[in-house]
Assembly symmetry: C2
Homo-oligomer: 352 residues x 2
């Protein structure tokens, strides 16, 4: 290091220090005191979405199971309820599912009865959400079924290991195992990866890891309302708290689940908080969130980071929707709109 560079370094350090000090000063402005409000269901959403938006806050949103064993019955109960909805979805969307194992990893092949001709050689990889502790087995499939049905794509959905079976990096490892297997048989230019919530974070983490490991990248990705920051940074963690009827609060069940999966691993690691990852070279990305989403900020922050890295990145935000409302009811026109938007995006970016 030359003397000049050292001086510059010192000066930059001082400047950075001053900037941080200013930021801290401004950010220590007194918080805004927002009064209590009575929030009606918006008038400009469909009847189906109105039902979802108008539902009360999730029951037991503030449970905090601290071990995989404590999570298991919670996950089982949720999964039992979700599994019952799957047959109706399959019938309405004309989709079939088949459990399989790919290089030792549990997965489902999700296939529309009528694959679009342009999608014949394309494969999408899906990683479900659920705070890394929920939605095992068929309970993880609704989003994959919606994508297969609305987009007429073949989807492989990873039923990755979760606590108590295994902790970090098991889900990541399983997703990567499936990714590697897919790219051995399908041209990566004809593939995409998608997922919502923890699945959105996994989607981003898979690209970060593929970059790091020199593996092929997909032609596009669709992280939906990704858990891109598990360190609780993000304005909507506060502004949409007690308004988002799904996640409800940054101090609720979801963060507790992520912590159990992390099992002591640094939450700021881009594998668990991908907003801190280097997004240069990412494939075209479509992001989905809602105006009431607790992760609205974590979605728009990823969007901005991608754009700053020069990545083509498209953002869609659902009116009145809380976290992942778009993967609830396939009969809601808002759901169809989200998945058709993603399908069009994939169609534009995937080779045929």
């Amino acid at each position: 290091m030359t003397v000049h560079a050292r001086r510059l370094g010192r000066w930059s350090g001082a400047l950075a220090g001053a900037l941080v000090a200013t930021a801290v000063a401004a950010q220590q402005a007194p918080p805004l005191e927002v009064p209590a409000k009575s929030v009606p269901v918006p008038a400009d959403v469909s009847p189906q979405m109105a039902k979802i938006v108008g539902a009360p806050l999730r029951t037991n949103w503030n449970i905090q199971p601290r071990t995989g064993e404590e999570w298991k019955p919670v996950a089982e109960a949720g999964a039992a309820a979700l599994r019952k909805l799957v047959p109706g979805m399959l019938e309405r969307l004309k989709v079939g599912i088949e459990p399989t194992t790919i290089d030792g990893v549990r997965a489902y092949i999700v296939t529309p009865k009528d694959i679009a001709p342009e999608n014949r050689d394309r494969v999408l990889v899906h990683v479900h959400g659920g705070c890394y502790v929920l939605n095992p087995g068929e309970a993880g499939l609704p989003e994959a079924i919606f994508m297969a049905g609305f987009g007429r794509f073949k989807v492989i959905s990873v039923d990755y290991r979760m606590p108590p079976e295994a902790t970090y990096p098991a889900a990541h490892d399983d997703a990567m195992t499936v990714w590697k297997a897919v790219t051995r048989t399908t041209d990566p230019k004809k593939t995409a990866i998608f997922g919502t919530s923890a699945g959105g974070a996994l989607t981003l983490a898979m690209v970060l890891r593929a970059k790091r490991e020199g593996l092929p990248l997909p032609a596009a990705i669709a992280p939906g309302t990704p858990m891109s920051d598990t360190t609780k940074v993000g304005d909507s963690f506060v502004t949409n708290a007690m308004l988002d009827n799904v996640l409800v609060s940054p101090d609720g069940f979801c963060d507790a689940g992520a912590k159990v999966y992390a099992n002591g691993h640094d939450l700021k690691d881009p594998m668990l908080s991908p907003v801190y990852g280097d997004m240069h070279g990412f494939p075209p990305t479509i992001l989905t969130t809602g105006t009431r989403d607790l992760l609205l900020s974590n979605t728009v922050r990823v969007h901005r980071k991608l754009r700053e890295a020069g990545v083509e990145a498209f953002l869609q935000v659902g009116e009145g929707q809380s976290h992942a409302h778009y993967i609830r009811d396939d009969t809601a026109p808002e759901t169809k709109a989200v998945f058709e938007e993603i399908a069009q995006f994939f169609d534009r970016h995937l080779a045929r």
Copy 2:
């Protein structure tokens, strides 16, 4: 109409009725009671933006002047404060301004010292915001200056008539007069229209009117957080009330201003609530808003309507930002990011 079609029609009517009934039922679900909160400035914004985000609610946000004469001193006071900031902006961004008159309409030519070579033959038309009653003269120029400076485009900013000088459709007429003049001397394929808030609504209304009158359309538009619905429909009117420190409330000054401009004209007319307009055939559109913006919903609703009409439409949402925070401080990196995004979008869509 055949008997069959008539039957189908009746059935559809009944179905539509049932859907509306369901919607009303769902939308009459009890409102969500969101408790009071203390909202700190987010940690993930620049020091400059932290200062803007952390400012208290706008003074006198709840004034309701009912005539143009009552608005005049309010507009004058605001304009005097804003005008003082203009010289600094011009200097920092290396932009010059020149007042002019175009076919009888007051306007400013806003020119960067160094027009980008690819922009030599391109012209942008700007319509300022301010609830149709604020920001006369130079006070309407910051956004035009930012666009000229960051994008190195030549901009013509319309200093349209407002109450008490004139009411609806005077601002619209003035904007169209300038638009027609510009398209007489510049290939419309080399032009774009942009503006924020009321200026965002005017941008959309100009395209609707150009379509209706068979005039040429611009090659792209950038409505920023448009007042696309002056009938108070939109979820964020409630969810971001008392959080957005600029507009603060749907029952604040801004709606009062729009009403005075409307002067009894139907607020649901797409000229004043362009979200209800037919957006088929619109040029590529880039929309800007923020997570705390009272018009977040009105921006994302326009985005969805455009996409449903098959229009290329890009949405950017600023972390923690209230209404139009991105046109405050040209030294904030968030401001630069917004205008560079718009400039890139224009560059992609405008002929050279």
